[in-house]
């Protein structure tokens, strides 16, 4: 379909553009900006007055729960929630069941997305077989099957020699390694940031060192092997200093942060709010402010939803016995706009961290509105508020600590590979 989007405020961080204009799409691609290409006959005109058009959001870490945990959520339910939230590409970690350590699982995911999905899904492959940290996964084959990177998710690779070889092997196949920096011993049995709140609540703590010790080790291994490394969901101010130092010495490393960590802190756990039980744990307010600053300054390359939908029972237990994780697809864009509203960051920069930033991390041609790129576009109204409620959430996981919050910004339409989906007010 030939589509003409007009009167939009077009913000394309990749193309450094922020001005009113028109977008022309055809055959699933953006074919022109502002002036139609020769002979373009639009079949549909979309008046985007008052709306912002930006590249479709790219979420660098979202669990869709399929295959293996369909009682929590499915590719069908979560890609719909993503599309409703303006997210047109999702990257899912390999800790599904079965693990994404062979091409059949990748194919299964691709087929489910094709049959039931809406937004695009790009999977990460396993770094080691079964994520057991012992033998290398067939990374070359996984790459051929469509994996955009490799990761061991939250599973520890305790043998540093295995880790080093996995890095070398990933580098051989030009694959980025996605790392959850996490020392399993230091974090053992912890469920909250080690600090005054965990002390008060008597919750077993996860020290900042559980992140920084692993991060320092992995940065060193990345530097010596030359692999491209991406660090997922950093939570502490000290981690950002380590990242900066590694970059300063020439390491090819990137990092992201979860949206929840930019808004919440350990204080939100008071009263044992299990909706705030998340890994890595919510840290101090000082850490949260440092994460905001690092996002502003580009030390952090991307913001992700770290989406982890759960069935209600997963959170219906005493805090330490609940499953960690926050459902984040529905609120990702609005919480980003809230950061802008709070003066923490500019709109173009936060949109960059949700579009071209994560696309670059994933090494995929997404997250831009350049002519010739795939027509993944998000059109949103930044001037409306909506209330996070059971009714307004589309994800199968209602486990969000932002329930009841009034948030700015609502997506009015998305284009996914040129397919228009509208969400009227």
């Amino acid at each position: 379909m030939n589509l003409h989007i007009r009167n939009a405020r077009i913000i394309d961080p990749h193309g450094k553009r922020d001005e009113q204009g028109s977008i022309f799409t055809s055959g699933g691609q953006i074919v022109a900006l502002d002036t139609p290409p020769a002979g373009f006959v639009s079949e549909r005109e979309l008046d985007a007055s008052g709306l912002i058009a930006c590249p479709g959001l790219v979420d660098v870490c979202a669990r869709l729960r399929e295959p293996g945990n369909e009682h929590k959520a499915t590719i069908a339910s979560e890609t719909r929630a993503a599309a409703r939230g303006g997210i047109t590409t999702l990257c899912c970690p390999p800790d599904t069941d079965p693990v994404i350590d062979e091409p059949a699982t990748v194919e299964l995911i691709h087929r489910r997305v094709e049959d039931t999905g809406l937004s695009a899904v790009v999977p990460l492959g396993a770094l080691t077989q079964g994520l057991r940290g012992e033998m290398l996964a067939e990374m070359g084959t996984l790459k051929d099957a469509g994996c955009v990177g490799v990761s061991n998710a939250w599973q520890a690779v305790s043998d540093t020699r295995v880790m080093r070889r996995a890095f070398e092997y990933a580098a051989t196949h030009d694959l980025t390694v996605f790392i959850q920096a996490h020392d399993a011993w230091l974090a053992k049995s912890g469920c909250a940031n080690e600090g005054p709140v965990a002390t008060r609540l008597g919750l077993p703590g996860v020290p900042v060192a559980a992140e920084t010790v692993a991060l320092a080790q992995m940065l060193e291994l990345a530097a010596t092997t030359g692999v491209r490394a991406h660090f997922s969901q950093l939570s502490a101010a000290r981690s950002l200093e380590l990242m900066q130092a590694a970059r300063a010495s020439g390491s090819n490393v990137t990092a992201d942060v979860s949206m929840s960590h930019l808004h919440l802190s350990e204080n939100d756990l008071l009263g044992f709010n299990s909706l705030c039980h998340v890994r890595p744990p919510l840290r101090s307010e000082r850490d949260r402010d440092a994460l905001r600053a690092a996002l502003r300054d580009g030390v952090l390359n991307a913001v992700c939803s770290d989406h982890q939908p759960h069935e209600p029972d997963a959170k219906l237990a005493p805090f330490p016995s609940t499953e960690p994780g926050i459902s984040g697809l529905d609120t990702l864009l609005s919480l980003a706009l809230k950061l802008v509203e709070e003066g923490a960051i500019t709109l173009p920069r936060v949109l960059e961290s949700l579009t071209s930033g994560p696309a670059q991390v994933l090494g995929i041609e997404r997250g831009s509105l350049s002519v010739g790129s795939r027509a993944d576009i998000c059109l949103f109204d930044a001037n409306v508020e909506w209330e996070v409620s059971e009714a307004s959430l589309l994800s199968a996981g209602q486990n969000t600590p932002f329930m009841g919050w009034s948030l700015p910004g609502r997506v009015r339409a998305v284009l996914i590979a040129g397919q228009l989906h509208e969400f009227p007010a």
């Binding site: 965990a198 002390t199 609540l201 919750l203 219906l316 805090f319």
Partner: protein, 329 residues
């Protein structure tokens, strides 16, 4: 700051300031604590009579819901409930439902369906009584009998009750809490209770491995040397050292712990003359405390056990008893 209505005080004190549940000492006012202690004082007489019963909870059903084994706490709660004329049901969950895969919420709903009025809860998870209090019917009360490392409010209340029977003025009182503060719900509740009562100083004395991060933010001074730490102290509270602490590389041996942090008669002499010795029990003699001290003239350990009954009667009657009981103070 906390936008979810999750403050513990919202949960345990109603809009009129009455105690609905007892989950933690944190957030209780001095008036709440003093009221409980005063009512407990009125029950001490009951416990000394030959017929030890008052009808305050007649017709009520109290369930001892213990997810963790306990002898002393369960027994004193049971005695306290019976002396208030309540019917008491003991449910030992570790041996029943959860092993069959029943969720905590299911267990709770089943017991609630039997028209129980009060749950006395012990659980290994910090926050379990909060969780239960948030999910019970409005007419059901929850009393925390110890949750994880978080709180053991009735123990702390009986401790301040015991202290108050020996010295009335808390504002001149220096109290040292010695031992495994990290894993101690008793210590956390004692710290809150002593601070609410206006104690001049609360000190915690322990090796770094047994002290939680930022404990000073709870209103204590930290000391890692017992000899120096006992100076000028009026009350010494020794905490129980669990034997599994050696396995987690928190301590090298019981022997070294006793040498550095064990309370001996010699060490006791470094505290203020006449200083009192307390222990929530059960004691590990020769590990944290010398027998001669535990059984000595300055030990209040058995008095604490006795007082536990009156204090628990006070808590239960204030929460679930008839309204006039509220005027006792």
């Amino acid at each position: 700051m906390n936008r979810n209505g999750y403050e513990p005080t919202d949960l345990q004190v109603d809009a009129q300031g009455h105690l609905r549940h007892l989950l933690t000492i944190e957030g209780l006012s001095r008036e709440h604590v003093v009221r409980i202690l005063d009512v407990a004082e009125s029950f001490v007489g009951v416990n000394d009579k030959s017929i030890k019963k008052v009808p305050l909870l007649r017709g009520k059903t109290v369930v001892n819901l213990f997810f963790e084994p306990s002898t002393r706490t369960r027994t004193t709660f049971e005695l306290a409930a019976k002396r208030l004329s309540a019917d008491v049901l003991n449910v030992n969950i570790s041996a029943s439902a959860t092993t069959k895969g029943e969720s905590l919420l299911d267990t709770l709903r089943n017991l609630q369906a039997m028209q129980c009025d009060m749950f006395i809860v012990r659980h290994s998870d910090s926050g379990a009584p909060h969780f239960i209090a948030r999910h019970v019917e409005p007419n059901v009360a929850v009393v925390n009998a110890g949750d994880g490392w978080h709180a053991h409010p009735t123990q702390a209340l009986l401790d301040v009750f015991t202290i108050r029977r020996h010295c009335q003025d808390f504002t001149r009182l220096r109290v040292a809490i010695v031992g495994d503060v990290q894993h101690s719900r008793v210590a956390r509740s004692q710290i809150h209770a002593l601070n609410v009562m206006g104690a001049a100083e609360v000190r915690v004395i322990a090796p770094r491995t047994l002290l939680p991060e930022s404990i000073e933010r709870m209103g204590v001074n930290v000391c890692k040397d017992l000899d120096g730490g006992l100076k000028d102290v009026d009350v010494i509270i020794m905490l129980r050292l669990q034997r599994e602490r050696m396995l987690g590389a928190l301590l090298p041996s019981e022997a070294e712990y006793f040498t550095t942090f064990g309370l001996t008669a010699e060490r006791l002499a470094k505290a203020k003359p006449g200083a009192l010795v307390m222990h929530p029990g059960p004691t590990n003699r020769g590990v944290e405390i010398e027998s001669s001290v535990a059984d000595g003239p300055r030990s209040l350990i058995l008095e604490q056990v006795t007082n536990g009954i009156a204090v628990r009667m006070a808590v239960m009657s204030l929460i679930a008893g008839p309204a006039p009981r509220d005027e006792t103070a």
